[in-house]
Structure formats: C-alpha cells, structure tokens
C-alpha cells in the first residue's frame, strides 16, 4: 500500500502573528516557517504504518512556490520515500488543494491519504473532507488512533461528546488530531540521506485543476484586545469581587 501525506508549510506555531497596519495581510517576511504540526503527525502516522509492514511507500505532497523544496526535504529526512511538489505562486484554497490531491490520487492510487485536520495558518479544517467527497471515499477526521487491517481502517476520532470509533474501507482519507502520536525528531544522517531522495515537481497549471477561488479575503484586522485586569490578594477578595459582579 502507498500512503500520500499532505505536508504544508506554515508560519511556525511559536511566532506571534502581526497584522500589517494597512490590513492587507499578516507579516510573513523574515518569519520562521515550519511544517504544519498536524502534518508532522500525519507523516509520523504514515511512517509507523510503513514500519509495521502495512505500507510500502510514503509520499509527502506539498503545494506551493519554488522554495518549498527545503521544506519537502524535511519530510524526506523524517522518513518519507519521495516527495511531490505541486508548484504554484498563488494562494491555494482548501477546495483547490482537495482538487489537486484528487488528481494525484488518481495517478498514484494510494490506499490511504493522511492529512492534518487543519493548518494552523488559515485554520480552515476543510481539505481532507473535501478530498474524500470528491473522491467518493470514506473520511475519518480528527483521528487519535488508527488501525489498519483487512482492507479497512478502524479509526478513533476525537469528537465533542468523547471518542467515536468508525470503520472505513480503503482507500480512505484520514485527518489527524493532536494526540494521534508524537512525531520523531529528524537526525543529522537522515538529512544527508534525504538529499538523494526524489522530488517530483509538477506545475499546478498542468494538472487541469479548476483553481478559481470564489471566496476573497478583503481585509485583515488584529483581534480586539482584552485589557489587563486587576490582581486580588487572597480568596476572600476574589469571592467579594465576583459577588460584586453578580457572578457568584
């Protein structure tokens, strides 16, 4: 079995996001970029399935500009067999990403596609579900446990009510939640090895994907700030303050 893994590059989760004063975007120049944390979890899960003998090949997929290569090399250093770089200079909506993955799925015929449940930049949480819809295959979103056997995946999902378990015939799309696994660290020798692993570069335009975006972002703003409040010195003062506000 082959596993495709979505591997998006985003602003590092430790960076304090600043909105540009003119409202045209957020500051990304000179800001540290990293793999989307949920995608590292997706890659880790794919690698573990390969190590258990459930898969032979793990392919990381990135959609983005020419300089995405270094990012994809990280995925290869973590352990993916090869990478596919779909090149575009344009912003990619979740629907365009899903349509792009569908083209790759038709070509690569994977048994599983594992994606992060959301990217921590646009927080859209759409691409996996959309790919599953367009592909007409099962989706198992927000996965915290994955077992693959007998042509199906049994997935435990983190839902508001607790933990839901579903069974999905393969091929299927899985999206990862935080507690699925802890991604491994990249070791120096693996970085060297990754240099010789193949990266296929495909122009997004050559895939015949409808990349029209019917949702436009017209303005960016900083969120309203909560002002710093008061400090109280003990439990009695706290209770008095809450009673005064009518909260107790």
């Amino acid at each position: 079995m082959k596993i495709l893994v979505g591997y998006k590059r985003v602003v590092d989760y430790n960076v304090r996001i600043q909105v540009k004063p003119d409202g045209t975007g957020v500051v990304t120049d000179g800001v540290k970029l990293s793999a989307n944390p949920f995608d590292d979890i997706a890659l880790e899960e794919a690698l573990r399935l390969r190590e258990k003998g459930m898969a032979e090949e793990v392919v990381v997929v990135g959609i983005g500009p020419a300089d995405l290569t270094a990012h994809l090399r990280n995925g290869l250093a973590m352990g993916a067999n090869r990478a596919i770089h779909v090149q575009t200079g344009d912003a990619v909506s979740p629907l365009t990403a899903a349509r792009t993955f569908l083209k790759l799925v038709e070509k690569e015929q994977p048994g599983l596609v594992i994606l992060g449940k959301q990217a921590i930049d646009d927080d859209a949480n759409q691409t996996g579900q959309m790919l599953a819809a367009l592909w007409d295959r099962p989706q198992a979103t927000f996965a915290s446990k994955v077992e693959v056997a007998d042509g199906k995946a049994t997935v435990t999902r983190e839902v508001d009510a607790g933990l839901e378990t579903i069974e999905a015939d393969l091929p299927a799309v899985i999206t990862t939640d935080l507690r699925l696994n802890e991604p491994r660290f990249i070791k120096l020798p693996d970085i060297m090895k990754a240099k010789s692993k193949p990266i296929d570069v495909i122009e997004l335009g050559s895939l015949g994907v409808d990349a029209a975006d019917h949702i436009k972002t017209t303005h960016y703003a900083a969120p309203p700030k909560r002002s710093k409040g008061v400090m109280v010195k003990d439990a009695a003062e706290l209770v008095a303050a809450l009673k005064q506000k009518g909260l107790l």
């Binding site: 927080d123 819809a133 983190e158 508001d160 607790g162 999905a168 975006d213 960016y220 900083a222 003062e237």
Partner: protein, 312 residues
C-alpha cells in the same frame, strides 16, 4: 433574498444547543426563510425541539435508517441534494459541523467559510485565522451558494418560543456503505455541558495529576460550573479529550471562566477570549494568563481552592 438551510446537530434524540446558535447567525443574514434540517433514523423528538427555535420557518426531517449515526459520508449527499433552492447552508462549528460541512461544500463545488464570527452581509463574513490572532473579512462570490460553519462562541442561542411546522422530506440520494459507525465512548457527567455552561472552571498542568483534578471538580460542583482543561492537562492524561478548551479543542464563551493552574498558552487563550469574566489562579505571577485575566490571584491552588470554598 436569502434562504438558509441550517443543519441540526443532535445526539441520543436530543437537539444540541449549537443548532440554536447557528440559527442566530442565520437570522443575522436577514433572510426570507431559515429552515432547519434534521437527519436521523428517528427525527421526531429532535424536530420538535428545533421547531421551537425563534426565527425558524420550518423544520425538514429526513428519516432513514442509515442516518442513525452522524457519518459525514452518509449525511453529506443528502444535504447537498436538500440544499437545492437555498442560498446558504449553515452548520455549527463543532466537531459534527467541521466534519460534515466541508464534505457538503465540496459536493456543491464551493469552498467553505469556516468559523463565522460576524455576518457583515449576505455574502460577507468575519472569521478568525492563526488561532484568532487575525480576523479576516471574506466576500463570497454572490452567484455561489454559501456553505459556512458558525463559531458557536460568537453567537448567543436563539430563544425557544417558536412553533414552526415540521415537514418530512424525501431525498433521492444513493448512500455509501464504505463508512460504518462502531461506537461512541461518551464521558459520563452530571455536570453542565462545557459548550453551553454559563460558568466554567478549568484546570491545567499545574493541577499535577488525575487524582489532584478532584479539587477542580469539587470546586466546580460547588459553584455549579462545567469543567474544562488545557491541552497540557489532557495530554498528561489528567482528564479526557472532550474537556480540552482551546484552538484545537472547544471554543467557549461562558459568563465566568476560572483558569486554575493554567499558564495560558496562546492556543488556550483562543478558546476563551469571548468569556465574560476571566479569573486566573496560578502560582507563577508572570504566567501569560494574567495578561488577559480580568481578575488574577497568585498563589498555590491547593491552598486557595479550599479557602474559596470556605468563603462561598
């Protein structure tokens, strides 16, 4: 004029409170009609609850045995069919809606507007990105159907004084059998629901262990609050996942939020910034939680909580 289809969320024959919040967002569009659709094997009780929500024009029920569990792959094709004639499809931005709505959107050939905070116009919305560190205004092409999830913490639930008619709808859609429900392990709790409770008490890493979390439960019960937790507390196994509050957990807006032993990582603050009053109790006076807390108290939670209980 706009016509909005709101997808009802329900479990065990009860309507989830997030549905009335999605209806509030729908009302902000000032549409000609708001219809709620209930997909279930036995929709009657849920439909009766939905019919009471103020502003609802009618409730549509789709009763099929396959709808016994909320599997997105099964529900989405039915909703995509039912959406014909509507200008908007709204679902709450809960794990139910987040799982389902993008599948509906893709079947309708559109991207989705995730986590709507405010409605600026029928095709214009504000939503958070970067864990709420930026708020964007998006414009949806006026010729496209709008599929959106509603950030429930941004919307008060519509009241329940209405009496909309309920109609059975038959939807001609072939349903897949490739996805099957196995089981749901639900947290058993007599405490208020975390997502709708007016008071929430949350514990973090500072609580120290699963056993120690009893002091949080005890205090919460004393003031009638729901109990939440930071990601650190869930990761450490102190409490189950459904209690997590934050960017990737639950986004809540209680009147009173008391954070105990929570340092206040930005991902956690994202989940509580719509709370009315935030109280922080932490032994580290430099903890970031104090930057946004309305009332802060520095000290040992194991000393302070008994004192609080005594002072109540």
């Amino acid at each position: 004029m706009s016509k909005i289809l709101v997808i009802a969320e329900h479990l065990d024959g009860k309507l989830n409170g997030s549905t009335a919040r999605a209806v509030s967002a729908a009302a902000a569009v000032k549409p000609e009609a708001i219809d709620v659709i209930v997909l279930s094997d036995a929709p009657d009780a849920v439909a009766a609850e939905a019919a009471k929500i103020d502003g609802v024009s009618k409730v549509l029920t789709v009763a099929r045995a396959e709808n016994a569990h909320a599997l997105a792959a099964v529900l989405a094709p039915q909703i995509a069919k039912a959406a014909s004639g509507y200008t908007h499809v709204f679902a709450p931005s809960t794990t139910f809606g987040k799982d389902l709505a993008p599948r509906v959107a893709a079947l309708l050939g559109v991207s989705q507007v995730s986590d709507v905070m405010t409605v600026e116009g029928p095709h214009s919305f504000k939503r958070p990105i970067y864990a709420g560190n930026a708020i964007i205004t998006v414009e949806v092409d006026s010729a496209s159907i709008v599929v959106a999830t509603i950030r429930t913490a941004s919307w008060a639930a519509a009241a329940s004084n209405g009496s909309a008619p309920v109609e059975a709808l038959s939807v001609d859609a072939t349903l897949p059998s490739h996805t099957r429900f196995v089981g749901l392990q639900q947290g058993k709790s007599d405490r208020p629901d975390l997502q709708g409770a007016p008071k929430v008490v949350s514990g973090g890493r500072g609580v120290g262990s699963k056993e120690n979390f009893d002091v949080i439960y005890k205090f919460a019960d004393k003031i009638g609050a729901a109990v939440g937790a930071s990601r650190a507390a869930v990761d450490a196994g102190y409490v189950p996942n459904e209690m997590q509050v934050g960017q990737t957990g639950k986004i809540i807006a209680p009147e009173l939020y008391i954070a105990i032993g929570i340092s206040g990582a930005i991902q956690h603050l994202t989940g509580i910034k719509d709370a009315g009053t935030i109280v922080a109790i932490n032994k580290d006076g430099e903890a970031p939680i104090f930057e946004i807390a309305d009332i802060g108290l520095v000290g040992d939670l194991f000393k302070i909580l008994p004192e609080l209980e005594a002072a109540l």
